[in-house]
Subunit: 315 residues, 2 copies
């Protein structure tokens, strides 16, 4: 590693912060970390590439922000409290403006969620960012994909489809207001909701690949099926201004929303909704014994595959 | 992620193995892991690029092996017991032969050290491999860079300089026997030695950047200096066949050796050397109060910088 790249490391090291659970942070062969007694460790690693996970015109700030946001969203989906992050940056050249903006984005979110940067790597190569997040969960309390039960209500947080609408805007395909673009670039990981769902929700996942695909993962892992109601999908004002079919397509198959989709009993949903400071939560369907994912639209029921509508059926 | 890339994930998932400390492995938003009570967690992340960290003609098996080996070497340098790995692969295309060979190399070393693959990512992009390793150390027993004391003896494991000689062979600059090339491509992380050094060595680092640079990290972190003896450097037969100046250059500045360099009291070194099944250990110098790194050669003393000889001095 060149001394230039060592400078980068020191730059990140200076802003890494500290925490009672970090015995030794950046600067030795390994970081030394303490998991509190009675807690399990949740970890998730994601690699993000420009042109694949970000449109080419994404700002360095937004790249830094989103590199951490996708991992925090995984922690939220398990009901974990964020603790530490590691960051590996592959950079084609040393651009101090880019790095300053990238780290501003990264640390804005890191500081907000009190997640400490404890290590990583910096190499010279094609632009690529790998982040691993680490969080704590009381042993046995994690929200898994595999716990959905027949009769569970299916809920999502916030609005869905704006990630896909934002991408169309970033690519210049649609010109509308800037909100969905902001949501694409700076999604808000639903960490507080994940914590509120512990010991309440039966299953949970974050919406990264699209509602149909991600709910599909819950159904497969739990061995159940589901029926959604198209009219219940929580669409933003901007998305409602699009043609209805296109809007539904983006909400169901778009992805990049980083909202939570969870299944819960009616009793627990009622209790959850009395809690303050939670994001908007919308009931969109229920878990059924019959395998597969279906959506009801004015009394007609269609079967959904993870990537599109499969066929029509009536019942 | 395309379904092709999901196939890759399933391929790795199948060989990931299991462990009593893994509550939930690959396949949910996060892995769920248990750190045994009384143990600290040591983590290290490395990104390896073809053409930077591997010569372009490196086999997929060796890339898989070495991607894990460099992290295991970091765990060894802290005295940690390997536990879990995460792996993110950026691949330009789906080449099942390459993947089979890569994973053979990765899992050969993983199985040998009983380290469990618990998660990661697979993306389509320029070839790049990021591995994070996780290990356990009884709280407070980690070997750090910062503990070297004046009067400590400086030791290295195995032979040094073969990484650099192997690289010259891989690049076609030198044609000699294949052993150093094997050592470059399949370094043996000194995990057992790291465990034996717990509560004995005062400081430890693995030799990745070169003896002078890595020992320099210990000296800086500990606020001390050192004197090495050129004649004591443990050089392989192959390296000894090179011109002496070139051989020393490779041993001091070459890197990619993944041996351990540690400082220890004479008493504890004596005890260590009575232990069975340890690698070759060579005494190469001692820690001094005077800052800086020096090397003695037939009574003459030179000052070393991390990357080369700085100047001569007599004393």
């Amino acid at each position: 590693m060149s001394s230039e790249f060592e400078l980068i490391e020191r730059y990140f090291q200076r802003r890494a912060g500290d925490s009672a659970t970090v015995s030794l942070g950046i600067g030795d062969d390994c970081a030394l970390l303490d998991v509190p007694h009675g807690q399990q460790l949740a970890v998730s690693m994601d690699t993000l590439l420009i042109g694949v996970h970000f449109p080419h015109n994404t700002s360095a700030f937004d790249i830094g922000y989103k590199s951490l946001a996708v991992g925090l969203s995984d922690l939220a989906a398990m009901g974990a409290t964020p603790a530490w992050a590691t960051l590996s940056l592959s950079l084609p050249q040393l651009d101090s403006n880019w790095l300053a903006d990238f780290s501003d984005g990264f640390f804005q979110l890191a500081d907000h969620h009190q997640i400490t940067l404890v290590g990583g790597d910096t190499v010279k190569g094609p632009l690529s960012i790998t982040v691993q997040v680490h969080g704590f969960i009381p042993s046995g309390a994690a929200l898994k994909r595999s716990g959905a039960k027949v009769g569970d209500l299916i809920c999502v947080s916030g609005r869905i489809g704006d990630g896909a609408l934002g991408l169309k805007m970033a690519l210049g395909e649609i010109n509308t207001q800037s909100k969905p673009l902001e949501k694409l670039n700076r999604p808000e990981p639903q960490v507080a909701l994940g914590l509120a769902l512990r010991n309440r929700a039966h299953s949970c996942i974050d919406i990264s690949d699209g509602l149909a695909a991600d709910l599909g993962h819950i159904l497969k892992a739990s061995g159940v099926g589901a029926l959604l109601h198209a009219d219940q999908l929580p669409l933003s004002q901007e998305l409602q201004q699009q043609p209805r079919a296109a809007a539904e397509q983006m909400a169901l198959f778009g992805g990049d929303d980083y909202e939570l989709c969870f299944t819960i009993s009616a009793d627990f949903l009622q209790k959850l909704l009395t809690q303050k400071s939670l994001p908007k939560i919308t009931l969109i369907g229920q878990i059924e014994a019959e395998q597969g994912l279906r959506i009801e639209h004015h009394g007609r029921i269609k079967t959904l595959s993870p990537n599109g509508f499969d066929h029509f059926e009536h019942r």
